[in-house]
Amino acid sequence: MEKFKFNLTNTAIDLYLFDGVFKPTGTTKLLVDSVISNCNGVVNKKILDLGSGCGVVAISLNKEGLSENIFYASDLNENTVECVMYNANKNNCKVNVKKGSLFEPWYQEKFDLIIDDISGVSSEIAEISGWFDGVPCASGVGGDILTNTFLEDSVNYLNTGGLVFFPVISFSNVKSILSTAEKTFDIVECVGRSEFMLPESMHSSIDILEKLKEAGYINFQNKFGTIIWYTEIYKAYNKT
């Protein structure tokens, strides 16, 4: 079990990773920061962290006062339910965590805020990246299958005035994801962006990246003698 610190605005939380649970990345940090900065003063709301991994997003938002006393989380991965409960307990948070794919565990439930924390990179990149060590990633070669399904289904699980936050990574079919978002929601706006360098673990796979880029599945920039990719965080909602 690995222990790590996750920094929030005024504090840091200690989190533990069970085997096979996704380790938070820069995208995770950007997602948390973007949600906190763009919630229109939302506090004590019913928040769902979909694809929660170790629970970092849900616990962070709970600590920042955005969620009710209890937060909601789900993940496909067997180990995450226990991991999330362990971390919630360590951080004095109450959690309702379920195992299941996408919105499967949340039949007829409605939320004020839904966070898409599901893998959204090309499955070919997931394989070579080392980010998904032991963690399944069935997002398709364009990395858009799960995110598009999430976006289309999410409207059915939102309270009136509810918000959805989702990351879009340039190692995925950005056009496809944003097109789905724009068809589903009245307003889709980018609320955060970070650029990252290609990790060392992927340097030997640059030819795979070039092929995926040529085929239109992913995008990146060649700069500083390396590959620069980005994550953007989008906020989507319907007018009331």
């Binding site: 920094n7 970070s194 650029e195 990252f196 060392e200 500083f224 390396t226």
Partner: protein
């Protein structure tokens, strides 16, 4: 010539961050570790990495994000464009 990877690793090490935790727009003040003293640690560590070639660069102290540091290193032909 040093690589961008070596520069990023150096900055991460100077700030005592885990490998892979910096983004290109991570900047002074955006993370706890990159405060004014963290900034000095970065400058010092970069000067060690580049064998004393950083000290003469007058404007490098004004570079306060990963992107800006890399831009100045390119300007001074210390890393590849």
């Amino acid at each position: 010539m040093k690589t961008t990877d070596e520069v990023i690793l150096t900055i991460e090490s100077a700030l005592e961050l885990e490998k892979g935790s910096l983004s290109m727009d991570t900047s002074m003040g955006s993370i706890e570790q990159w405060d004014s003293l963290g900034h000095l640690s970065i400058l010092s560590s970069l000067d060690i990495l580049f064998d004393g070639l950083i000290a003469p660069i007058a404007n490098i102290s004004k570079a306060q994000s990963v992107n800006e540091i890399l831009d100045i290193l390119i300007e001074n032909k210390l890393i590849e464009k």
